[in-house]
Symmetry: C2
Subunit: 344 residues, 2 copies
Amino acid sequence: MTHPHAIHAPEAPPSLDPLVTMLAADMDRVNATIMARMDSNIPLIPQLAGHLIAAGGKRMRPMMTVAGAMLGSADAAAREPAIKLATAVEFIHSATLLHDDVIDESDLRRGRETANALWGNDASVLVGDFLFARAFELMVEAGNLAVLGRLASAAARITEGEIKQMAITGQPDTALADYHDVIEGKTAVLFSAAAAAGIEITGASTAHVEAMRCYGMKLGMAFQIMDDALDYAASASDMGKNAGDDFADQKITLPTILAWQDADAEERAFWTRTLGEARFRDGDFAMAQGYLAQHDAVDRAIAMARNFADEAAAALTPFMQDGDTAPLATALANAARFAAARSS
Amino acid sequence: MTHPHAIHAPEAPPSLDPLVTMLAADMDRVNATIMARMDSNIPLIPQLAGHLIAAGGKRMRPMMTVAGAMLGSADAAAREPAIKLATAVEFIHSATLLHDDVIDESDLRRGRETANALWGNDASVLVGDFLFARAFELMVEAGNLAVLGRLASAAARITEGEIKQMAITGQPDTALADYHDVIEGKTAVLFSAAAAAGIEITGASTAHVEAMRCYGMKLGMAFQIMDDALDYAASASDMGKNAGDDFADQKITLPTILAWQDADAEERAFWTRTLGEARFRDGDFAMAQGYLAQHDAVDRAIAMARNFADEAAAALTPFMQDGDTAPLATALANAARFAAARSS
């Protein structure tokens, strides 16, 4: 361990709650801006966008932006551009969810029917495009071209990550490096750009912007690895989402990559028939869970997520040394550990 | 007629050729930038985007940007930011085409198989998203926040237009004003923003930016009305695209709106059964063409397109009075008339 702060971690149990409390006032402003700016005189747009966005989720990505801004400036009024950026970040995320559900042909998200199931794929594609364009309008209003460029590049990287994910679909022998590349693109880059944009727009130093960029990236990696691990760890009723979906969709994720690496011929034949060729039989998902358990693959994936969470916390070192920023930095560190401690 | 320039129009037959010649050097720079910036280390992206973009089309939208920049600045080096904006405009347009083909489930565009037919809907959605994000990266590089805001708003308006088009699909009694709203959003706004952005980034006066904004808008209206009229005027072999597609897709366009307005009960029953309810029979498209001919609906639509083209030409008045800009302005006026003179 090279990071002393990873050793002297706070003793409090990992939790998102302290962070949520500290960010509550600014997140209220973000939520109000989300509602105001998803409006359009085309009624379908607020209806469909509202269905997705009202369904909630933890709003982790805009929280990154708001937290970054609070580390950079104690003046709530001066954080107004960051409120717009946080809204833009949520809109970019929402746009990718709408398009993902079309691509995955998903019917359920967060336990509710998806927008494409209710309104059709056409509407989901177009309202996703609308939210994406509206995000850029908000960024223009925030008024900082460098920050806008950071988020525009993140948006391009997201789609590259998703396209690469599509390319490795059905390839159970995917290399770990390719998986990392996929999740960095499809998930971690937006966490990272969101966190960096929030502090950058307050005029913070390059070192502080870089610290938040690194924090967001590592947190995003932890977050996606946990998501992928939990898809094999739990049943649908436990999770409120579709456990086993990745398996059914032939998505290649960390647990199956680890299991493939250690697999014998019989196991590889199983992964090839299922993930590779989609020739599924009853009981295959339980068998997949069994093979993963034999190789400790889910637990090893979770351990890798925890390692990324520790690295995220360590990136916050510059903010731990200042009495004004240390409490929020501590809450962010705990949030990172929480992201890697979610259980099925 | 209130516009003297509409009366004293150049006698040359409407043609795109003089404009193409005047813009050729800058359009070569745009084409080189398009090829360079659609690249990615994910091979599918340049493959799929290249299939669409190599298929060509006239590149009318980036030509608007380049023409605007040339009206604003005679210095080729100073137009470099406009080359990036023109590339961004083509990427935004390409993204909407990729998503449109998914939505329309089209198999042919410009006489070639569509990207979604070759690579699947998933890839078309994601590569469209990539091109959209890459467009914003290019706009950031162009370095002018006001211009970026203009194009971001246009992008939002495009999706609003397409969503409204979806809403009026299958409604043969759609009002003319709603149709105008749809085509202004889905087509004219991008022509308009493209033309205005090109001249605005050269530091031109508000009056000159507004003149090009107006020119692009009117040209875009003429362009889309002609496209809609020709869908009923010709057979598939004549057009190199799918004549009758709008009818089969229950899209409501100017010819059918005009025919509906003048229709008797029997004709309305026909439009309701076909456009309204999609209960198609053999020979329906020929019958639709017959009803349109009875009411002169296609010719009246083309006349309205010509009127928009005349208004586009008239908007160029400020550039006609200056010897340096008059030749290009004349070529732009002729291009507008050409857009409304395309025949089947």
